[in-house]
């Protein structure tokens, strides 16, 4: 671990990145009012919105040019994911982008990849390596017929006649059980190289989900801050009281750090993937915690109102945990992070 390395720490977005952020920020803000999010419950999928997301190029931008993509960087993708999280858009974009990129890297299944780039078919990824035929819960599998999974056999594409049954869950995500014996199976790659591809895809999923969680946290925070400015008690705005203000200050600090960590991890994954392979996990762990804290602090700042279904904070509270939990116990990620440190010192 080189603690004193001479590196730039320049987190400023360049003009193109800024354009991505603003473009998708405007898009999601305009296209996804909270009423749309509510209407998409409990499945968490809006087919019309998905079409518009596809039309924005979000499903293809992260693919290499030879696969019909724009070769957008992971930095671009985390910017998009953060904006998606900010409005908790009910589209399976994170899983789909990650699985499509994996498909492109693994090779084969060219037809599917083309359809995925066009958003015509939704692809997702089973995040846990399959052992002994156990079923597992897979994000977005309730709207995807194509599931990529890793097992002793290798990296396998499972194509089902129709998406698996939705399993209702707190975060209103299109979660479904995935049975590794189900569907038509195509082994795309095998061996250590294939496993590395799978691990990279899982890391990308966590990175983009971390970015979405930063967006969730930011929106949750804003709702709490607005309330703290306007609601008065004992003749002062409650936000003037340290008991209210300090937790909100802690939250914005956590979010700012999580956002930079996500971007840092994306930069390394894009430009120096071998240098800090643990960083996507670091970013995910921190973003998940920041989102958990932001959602709770903001809901609590809003008192009883923050606990009602009709308040928008409910949407963010339920998804802060409901989305992050899809990645499994962050403790497993922390163990990988520590193992990387032990190997480095």
């Amino acid at each position: 671990m080189e603690r004193f390395e001479l590196r730039r720490q320049d987190f400023r977005l360049d003009d193109d990145q800024q354009a991505v952020r603003e473009g998708f920020g405007d898009f999601f803000t305009k296209q996804v009012p909270s009423s749309l999010v509510r209407d998409a419950q409990p499945l968490g999928f809006d087919a019309d919105l998905w079409q518009r997301v596809v039309a924005m190029g979000a499903t293809s931008m992260g693919l290499p040019e030879e696969a019909g993509g724009d070769g957008a960087t992971l930095v671009d993708l985390v910017l998009v994911a953060e904006e998606l999280g900010r409005v908790v858009a009910p589209v399976p974009l994170v899983s789909h982008v990650v699985a499509s990129r994996l498909l492109a890297r693994a090779g084969g299944a060219g037809e599917l990849l083309a359809a995925a780039a066009e958003g015509e078919r939704v692809v997702t990824l089973a995040l846990q390596p399959g052992v002994g035929g156990n079923r597992q819960l897979v994000p977005d599998a309730a709207v995807a017929r194509d599931v990529l999974a890793w097992s002793a056999e290798g990296l396998t594409l499972h194509t089902l006649p129709e998406p698996a049954a939705h399993v209702p869950n707190q975060g209103s995500t299109p979660l479904a059980w995935f049975d590794p014996a189900a569907g038509e199976r195509t082994v795309l790659a095998a061996g250590p190289g294939a496993e590395a591809l799978f691990r990279t895809a899982v890391a990308e999923w966590k990175l983009l989900t971390g970015a979405a969680l930063v967006g969730i946290a930011e929106s949750a925070l804003q709702l709490g801050v607005e309330f703290a400015k306007s609601r008065r008690t004992l003749g002062v705005a409650i936000g003037a009281l340290q008991g209210v203000a300090f937790p909100l200050a802690d939250v914005v600090s956590e979010i700012s750090g999580a956002r930079n960590l996500v971007r840092k991890a994306a930069w390394y994954a894009e430009h120096e993937p071998a240098t800090r392979p643990d960083l996507p996990l670091v970013a995910f762990v921190h973003a998940a915690r920041a989102a958990t804290e932001a959602a709770w602090v903001s809901a609590h700042t809003q008192g009883g109102l923050g606990f009602t279904v009709e308040a928008d904070i409910s949407l963010f509270f339920l998804r802060a945990k409901g989305w992050s939990v899809l990645g499994g116990d962050p403790g497993a990620d922390r163990r990988h992070i520590a193992a990387a440190l032990l190997a480095a010192v």
Binding site: L137, V167, L241, G303, V325, G331
Partner: protein
């Protein structure tokens, strides 16, 4: 100190058997299903059944509609009700208000209501919080204006939990807008079937239902005034301090602290422990054998144990905040199965973790936010000075 099991007399043991048998009969799966569906914190069948035995106010004499139970039998009953998760929210507000009714209501009204309350046919809810008022109850704005032998009410209240299942609300009103904040309030026991009362449901993501109640030119008889005009703050103190845990007999037959949500937290912990005993990781090892899982689960056990024994209002803060942080950690430990909804394929023990995570958040607000209680602890336990704010004494709205 005495933390021992309580030796029951043959009569007490017989009573316990009676309670168990009766509750087995009345607390059916339909009761739980009703609660999941409505979030009422109340089931009329169970409530009336308990009333029929005198078990709503078990310490009252039989002649008053109670059961004349001794403290041990009261505790036996309370534990059996808790064990079965009997929805008791409306019963609890009824009990709080009754203390004020007994103290401050027109004696004739109180005498008329007592047997009805005991039987379960009359129930009370709390009309405390203004829509904009938050924890500052004394800043109430709902106006009551005298009109002969009556009062005319206009305004609204939030968080009147159970209003749709109650006959009366214990309402705080402003009767003198010119007086200092705490000196212009008057309390009423307002019949909820009065013309001009409108009850609107509010649902929480904890699965509970509460209400907004709107009062438009509602006429209330002066006989339903509780305590003196403009002395509402004093009238209110009785039940409020009961809600804050004062006045329990010190015989070890009450909980030590005002634990909030600890039973739900423990239920989730226990479910996760059972889950760990039969669940394998992707690498084929049992979750229960994972040292990291045990380390973190053990931390939650410590928090729950501490929540139970932290005394008084400190326990109220500790239990709620430990529960909120702890259930988030427990969900992490278990993973996506933890947040599957009741009835979903694979939901753990009927979605007990999902429920516990959603329910936790409100426990930091009910009956006063954790911040209100931290302020009380700072002032009354530690003796720290109170910060004077513009509206501490004045009515600033």
């Amino acid at each position: 100190m005495d933390l021992g099991t309580v030796e029951l007399t043959p009569e007490q043991e017989a009573f316990r058997q009676e309670v168990r048998a009766f509750l087995d009969e009345i607390v059916t799966e339909e009761v739980h299903e009703h609660e999941r569906r409505t979030g009422d914190g109340f089931h009329v069948g169970v409530h009336l059944a308990l009333g029929s035995r005198g078990w709503l106010f078990p310490e009252w004499p039989v002649a008053d509609g109670g059961a004349g139970l001794d403290r041990v039998c009261q505790r036996v009953l309370a534990l059996e009700l808790a064990r079965r998760h009997v929805p008791m929210v409306t019963h609890s507000t009824t009990g709080l208000v009754w203390a004020a009714v007994e103290l401050s209501a027109d004696p004739e009204l109180a005498a008329r209501l007592k047997p009805e309350v005991a039987a379960g046919r009359v129930r009370f809810c709390l009309g405390y919080s203004d829509p904009e008022g938050g924890s500052d109850i004394a800043g109430a704005t709902l106006r009551a204006v005298r009109d002969g032998d009556e009062w005319v009410l206009n305004g609204s209240k939030l968080w009147t939990t159970g209003a749709h299942n109650c006959q009366y609300t214990f309402l705080i009103t402003r009767t003198d807008p010119e007086a200092p904040k705490h000196k212009g309030l008057t309390m009423f026991l307002v019949p909820l079937d009065s013309p001009g009362v409108e009850i609107q449901a509010i649902h929480t993501y904890g699965g509970e239902r509460t209400n907004a109640v709107y009062y438009t030119d509602v006429h209330v008889s002066d006989t339903h005034r509780m305590g003196d005009v403009n002395a509402g703050w004093a009238t209110l103190q009785g039940p409020l301090s009961a809600e804050h845990g004062a006045g329990r007999p010190d015989d070890g037959l009450s909980d030590v602290g005002m634990a909030m949500g600890t039973r739900e937290f423990e239920a989730a912990i226990d479910a996760a422990a059972r889950w760990a005993k039969h669940t394998t990781r992707p690498d084929g090892t049992l979750v229960a054998d994972d040292p990291a899982f045990l380390d973190r689960l053990g931390a939650l056990v410590v928090e729950a144990e501490a929540s139970r024994v932290t005394p008084g209002p400190m326990g109220r803060v500790k239990s709620s905040l430990s529960y909120i942080a702890g259930i988030a950690e427990l969900v992490d430990l278990v993973g996506p199965e933890a947040l599957l909804a009741h009835g979903a394929d694979g939901a753990i023990e009927g979605g007990v973790l999902d429920y516990a995570h959603r329910f936790a958040q409100g426990t930091a607000t009910y009956g006063g936010t954790t911040e209100v209680f931290k302020g009380m602890i700072a002032q009354h336990v530690l003796g720290l000075p109170r910060l004077n704010l513009p509206g501490s004494k004045q009515w600033v709205r």
